[in-house]
């Protein structure tokens, strides 16, 4: 028995080989579901387990499935393997090390919503994983675990992989569906949500890789077993992607509700040179910056507690920032990232991230006044609440929290320019037209 639920390959060698996976009760859950459970029973078990989406929003998985429009067929299941959030690298490890558990999870979700086709949408950089997965899917088909009339029952399923073209936005579920349809990866308006209008306009489940990987063991061991892990409202294990200024960065599969302190110091081995933790980003670049007070470090990482710190758990990509780092540098990185990744569909994000990038570049380069910092804050506030999708909203999280919570760093960055007025014309203003 492995100490892990999701990262079982860490103590079961060669778990990414089908025969090894099968020897370790692989596809027993899927077989059990198809041969003994009704689709609704599967959904009910997942509902009872309290499993919440691991992609970032934490939406209850079973509830999402139950929203599938049963008057509109066919249904689709799509696995979101676009894993593009800076600081997130959990899905990659799952798909490389424990791919069959993930694929079994896809199959279980598909059975639960009676989809006969499932797609795994991988970010373009995962082309090697995709090639591997295509072979693994073929093996499953050869083994009779995917295909037509599975286990002699009237249920058929095919899984296909699809590679994105390298856009962060395609991790947003509706942009992913657009991309999967072969269109420009731009998010759709929501509502309607994918369970009523998804891929090709049909009801579609979009689940994260990690979420789906939970399913086989939930089905095998039951909802009660699962609920014993984690907290009351955030049950189950979570893979925390620890990065930044820590001694042992990496993926850590821990129960939800583990504190920041436990993750960073017990598991991550603390900060190099025993420096102070200054700030924490809990959800990659989309995070608000958490001031690393003692209280914050003792906060449990679950979907309810982190918001109390004015942040979100998101995909649990914990980036640790120590006191050698200036926050304006961090903000510069996140703003540049969002500027680069904005799809351009809605005005505030397209124009706002572009504007913020110019401002933070100047601030970070020391060419700006405090007024520019205030302008940056203004622009960020102007973006907030007006965007079409979450990307634009995420783009201001670090900016607003950074300026508010780490004002000194920005004061420092703007100290060289004493001007009280914001810069209105650039130093290199073109004078060729007089």
């Amino acid at each position: 028995m492995s100490a892990y639920i999701l990262l079982r390959h860490r103590d079961i060698p060669d778990l990414n080989q089908l025969d090894v996976y099968l020897k370790n009760e692989g596809f027993a859950a899927f077989r059990k579901a198809v041969t003994t459970l009704s689709p609704d029973e599967v959904t009910d078990i997942v509902k009872a387990s309290g499993l919440r989406g691991r992609g970032g929003a934490g939406f209850p998985t079973g509830m999402k499935w139950s929203f599938m429009d049963k008057n509109n067929w066919p249904h689709f299941v799509t696995a979101n393997a676009d894993e593009s959030e800076p600081g997130t690298f959990k899905d990659r490890e799952i798909m490389e090390g424990n791919p069959f558990q993930f694929l079994e999870g896809v199959a279980l979700a598909a059975y639960a919503v009676q989809a006969n086709t499932a797609y795994v949408y991988l970010r373009g950089e995962f082309w090697q994983i995709a090639e591997q997965m295509d072979r693994q899917i073929a093996e499953l088909e050869d083994a009779g675990l995917l295909g037509d009339r599975l286990f002699g029952k009237n249920y058929s399923l095919r899984i296909y992989t699809h590679l994105g073209a390298g856009a962060y936005i395609c991790g947003e579920e509706t942009a992913m569906l657009e991309s999967l349809e072969g269109k420009l990866g731009q998010p759709r308006l929501r509502p309607p949500f994918p369970p009523s209008f998804g891929l090709y306009g049909k009801p579609t489940v979009v689940n994260n890789v990690e979420t789906l990987t939970n399913l086989p063991l939930i089905l095998q061991n039951g909802a009660g077993w699962y609920r014993k892990i984690g907290t009351e409202r955030s049950p189950g294990p979570k893979i925390f992607c620890l990065s930044g200024r820590v001694n042992r960065p990496g993926n850590y599969e821990l129960p939800l509700g583990t504190t920041f302190r436990q993750l960073i110091f017990e598991h991550g081995g603390g900060i190099p040179g025993d420096r102070q933790v200054k700030a924490i980003m809990a959800a990659g670049a989309s995070s608000a910056l958490i001031v690393a007070t003692e209280e914050a470090l003792d906060t449990p990482m679950d979907y309810e507690s982190v918001p109390k710190l004015g942040a979100q758990l998101g995909s649990a990509s914990v980036i640790v920032i120590d006191d050698t780092v200036n926050i304006d540098w961090v903000v510069n990185k996140t703003v540049r990232f969002f500027n680069h990744e904005s799809c351009g569909k809605c005005t505030p994000c397209r124009e706002g991230t572009y504007w913020m990038r110019h401002l933070i570049d100047r601030i970070h380069a020391g060419g700006a006044s405090w007024q520019d910092v205030l302008l940056l804050k203004d622009v960020a506030a102007q973006i907030q609440g007006k965007c079409l999708c979450a990307l634009g909203e995420f783009s201001v999280e670090a900016v607003l929290s950074g300026i508010e919570r780490f004002e000194a760093d920005f004061r420092e960055a703007a100290r060289d320019r004493q001007a009280e007025q914001p810069l209105l014309v650039g130093a290199g203003l073109r004078s060729d037209n007089g």
Binding site: L184, S342, C346
Partner: protein, 846 residues
Amino acid sequence: MGKLVRLTIDGIEIEVPVGTLVVDAAKKIGIDIPVFCYHPKLEPVGMCRMCLVEVGRPVFNRETGQFELEPDGSPKIQFAPKLETSCTLPVSEGMVIRGYTEKVQEGRKDILEFLLTSHPLDCPICDKGGECPLQNLTIAFGPGKSRFIYDEKQLLGKHIPLGNLILLDQERCIQCARCIRFQDEIVDDPVIEFSQRGRALQIVTFSEPGFDSYFSGNTTDICPVGALTTRDFRFQARPWELKAAASICQQCPVGCNLTVNIRREDKSGGAFVVKRLLPRQNEQVNEIWICDKGRFAYTYAGHDDRLNQPLVRKNGELVPASWDEAIDLVAERLSAAQGGLLTIGSGRLANEDLFNLRQLTTRLGGKTALYTHMAGGDLTAQVGVGQGTNFSDMGPGTTILVVACDLEEEAPIYFLRVKQAADRGAKLIVVNPRRTKLERYAAHVLRYPYGAEAAAILAMVNALSAKKPDLPEAVRDLNRSGQLEAAAKAFAGAENAVILFGGEGAGLESSHALAQGCTNLLVATDHTGRPNNGLIGVWERANNQGAWDMGFLPSSDLSGEIGNAPVVYIAAADPAGDQPALADALNSAGFVIVQELYLTVTAGQADVVFPAQSFIERSGTYTNGERRVQRFYPAVPELQQTMADFAIPARIGAKLGFDLEGSLANRVMDRIAAQVPDYAGVSYLELAEVTGQWPIVHRDDLFYGGTSYENTRGLGVQLQPAAQRGEQTPLGWVKPVEALQPAEGQLLAAPTTRLYDRGLTVRLTTLLHPLIPDPYVALNPATAASLGFIEGTIARLSLADGAAVEVQVRLDESLPENILLVPRSMGVPIAGLTTASLDVVERTYA
């Protein structure tokens, strides 16, 4: 109309149908919510975020199952913390919208500030300046001052040709995607798209040639900034210098409502010059769209080569003469001819012109002939679509049958509207000898061999009747296929059904048989005499229907009649230029009178030439394919020494002592109304009436609908067909034309219509020249291979009547085998289905 929903917008209570968007509901009560990406004709996308409003909803108490109330008894309203986009928000019961609070105004300012960060602010040289939503909304809601450093703006392409007609200014573009969505949703030519992402997002075209669509000009109307401009108007004038006159397009039988923008300008010597044509809203006809031919092919009217004085042949030469001299001469010859007058007119003439020409001719005991290759105008007068017909009303329950017609080439806006109807759920049946774009939306596609169009329709009638008379050999396969019966049943079972018949492969005789077949199908299935039921002729010219109504009928032997006529009077037609056979006939005619805009080949053979006026210089009416009589107005002063086409016969008549009305077009219409029963009661006053149009496209809030003009000068009057007046329509005998059997080494040559041909109006518009192909014929690749032709081969085409021309061979796999597809008005004098041979002149490897 569905259930009504009550909501409050800025204190005004309103009831609108369920599903209405908040932005439209507000518009209905005169509240303008500013938008950029939203357009009432397009699916909402919520991209620009300009239409943000505060939204309040009644508070529902789950425990009591009741809506909560305020102490004063009014419903308790909870406002959402975030602003919401009103263009994507359907109304709901009890909703309260606040469109002008401080928070909302602040939101609008924010969005405008964002848009302006990337905008070049080159309004002083921008064509849109003066009619620009971005400019107007910035003045209304925007920040007065820029906080964005000018140097940090992106410098992008200012003159990117997307196609031959449309240019893109990348700096001005605000990425609203209206153009992309129009091309995709409305006309299904998705040839432009976004490329890249974020601030690098740009419109690109990926068709070859670029922006390959007949509707591209419309994107410039709905573009809310100066990003898309037309090549003809770009940098030509400022919108506020322009005067507007209402007009009707004369390119095809749709009769799109136009606005002619004119300016009196120094560079043209102080003359009034047409600067551009824009659509004028008429939701019953063209909505707010026009095709590119209608938009751009107007320069002919102001061309330098216009005839500007009467010409009289003296000593074999045409020499200038005074009007009096020319009229005297004509009057003298006409009285001497003693009834031997043949008057030929075309559908390019207005009703008033045709009426007066007909009056003059009949009083002289002469004969009139309509210059056309299509018959059936008598039948559309009987079973044409009923008064009140509107394609916009067609959806589920309606079946539309399109036969022998490449609708997008023959009448682009009919194509657009039929496609929209099919999108809404109307069943479309396409019956055509080759594949056309319209088939993409068809529920049933029936294919017949060229020449068997009437037989195909007859087969549909037979499929519905107990008696099954013998069918011509050509459609027996089709008849056995089962598809035909399914289509016939879909047609018969429809609540409403219309038929559009066109000119694909048509000559006069076959066209008559086809129209009669269609009539029989309509009568047999009881689809006549009601709105959205009946027959529509997709005529070759704008006013063919009016010509039939005024008494001009096609002649089955035009060449013979011309050759034997002592006097031939030709108006707005160029038979000699079109067909060498008719030129020969004209040579043997007696005295030839021509009234024209230009010295055409026919005019060159005349004895007297009268200079006529173009449609932008005068008043008149056209009757469109749906038998809607529409009025056009003078936009520019007439060219001196010219006369309106109706005034010339009136003046001749006056000389001969006939009482013809030649002073004003509206007085001619009064006479038409008195003498032509179908037009009883029609007056210019009635034609100028306007009823409410939705969506509301006004010039003062350009952001909502675009620069298309509001209609203030008349929606026209749709005539009642005889069937609607309760008259019985007898079934006519349909005699399908006999199948032509090409001899050994010969092919069947079928005429087809291309939108951009070498007709007068297109030829004289230099802007369109690159779009007009060289004379060509098209062949199926297999046929071409068997005959030794490849794409680009120069060949000599010899038609059965002896005419021969050099053409280029093109390959088209959508064609049936052993067919030569020959575009009309493209240098090949083809009148109808005929046999021909093709011989290699030169092979070029393109």
